[in-house]
Amino acid sequence: MYSFEFEKPSTIADAVAALGGEDAQALGGGQTLIPTLKQRLAAPTKLVSVSGIAEMKGVCVEDDGSVAIGGATTHATVAREAAGSYPALAALAGQIGDPAVRNRGTIGGSIANNDPAACYPAAVLGSGATIVTNARQIAADDFFEGMFGTALDEGEIITSVRFPVPQAASYQKFLQPASRFALVGAYVARFASGVRVAITGASEDGVFRWSEAEAALDKEFRPDALMGLKINPMNMIGDLHGSKDYRAHLVSVMTKRAVEACM
């Protein structure tokens, strides 16, 4: 790691001020950022930890029934505390990495990084969540901008994520056992207003909504409704863990399993 200054403010306002300098970067749980720094793939001059900001931690149910999760809330906390209010989300959080990683890694860090194989982006996009920052609110549909890209501005912090709770939802992850990321993961959420399907791990463009599957499931919410639906392998990720065709196939299989789990 190259050398950097470290600050750990206790309020959002102080964190925003600390991030004002050039090349400053926010630090969540560090489960991706610290390995990235070790490999010298990033060289911020200052890291601003958000782990000391009490107002950015915890899970709560809002008046409208949505579940709000502080940006600095760990995966282990979400797995535990959202189990009653949004079980599919809690189950997803409980499958990220391993126990020690879940005790440090945060939802805000995961979403801000937008790893193409991360689990949380699928839940955020699949639920149609709202990303709340220190400056504004961003709809999930406008937030993810391709592999490792987001709508966040420099120095902008995810303070919380607000999830509308669907009637039924399920995340099905085909585990890449070495990295513990998703080789392909499908998040299916059924709302009164319609079905949302978000796919992670598969596309060169990062997490995406599978609109053909959504349309089919809107007509008929049954696993068989997906029969014959295939995704174009052209934009899928092809690497030593799985070819483009294999990932395209897994998209169909995992989406079908997620629908089955919703029944």
Binding site: Q31, I34, P35, L47, D98, P99, A100, N103
Partner: protein, 161 residues
């Protein structure tokens, strides 16, 4: 350099560290607590697992300054002052839950965190919980057996695979 203070195995400690100093480096290089092993240094192997405020974390993937004011527990704090092994350590010895021993500090610390959360885990739950702890000698079988024994469960029925 910044001063960092924390409690390690019940003792107040402090030292001057850089922003980039890892918790694992602080424990090993500053405090000479070399029982915490650094295996992969990429947060995959789990040899460096310690407890921070009671939770298992990979100390090679956490900055020392993030542990300011925290209660840290390492493998050195597991045995009694006179060297008597605790229940988990003794079970690892009794059931041959180690060969080279390199991963053992992390295994014991993860096992302790598991048993605090789930005092009588099933074999499947133990295997699931140890997903972030790699052992290249044992094939895990005796590690799982040791943890089941440490939780007071009968292990005679667990046959070798």
């Amino acid at each position: 350099m910044t001063q960092v203070s924390m409690t390690v195995n019940g003792k107040a400690v402090s030292g001057d560290v850089e922003g980039r100093t890892l918790l694992s480096s602080f424990l090993r290089d500053h405090l000479a607590l070399t029982g915490t092993h650094v295996g992969c240094d990429t947060a995959q192997c789990g040899a460096c697992v310690v407890h921070v405020n009671g939770e298992a974390v990979k100390s090679c993937n956490m900055l020392a300054l993030e542990a300011e004011g925290a209660e840290v527990g390492t493998i050195e704090g597991q045995a009694a002052e006179d060297g008597t092994l605790n229940t988990i350590q003794q079970a690892f010895q009794d059931h041959h839950g180690l060969q080279c021993g390199f991963c053992t500090p992390g295994m014991v610390m993860s096992a302790a965190a598991l048993l605090k959360e789930n005092p009588r885990p099933s074999e499947a739950e133990i295997r699931k919980y140890l997903e972030g702890n790699l052992c290249r000698c044992t094939g895990y079988h005796n590690i799982v057996k040791a943890i089941m024994a440490a939780s007071g469960q009968d292990v005679t029925s667990i046959a070798a695979e």
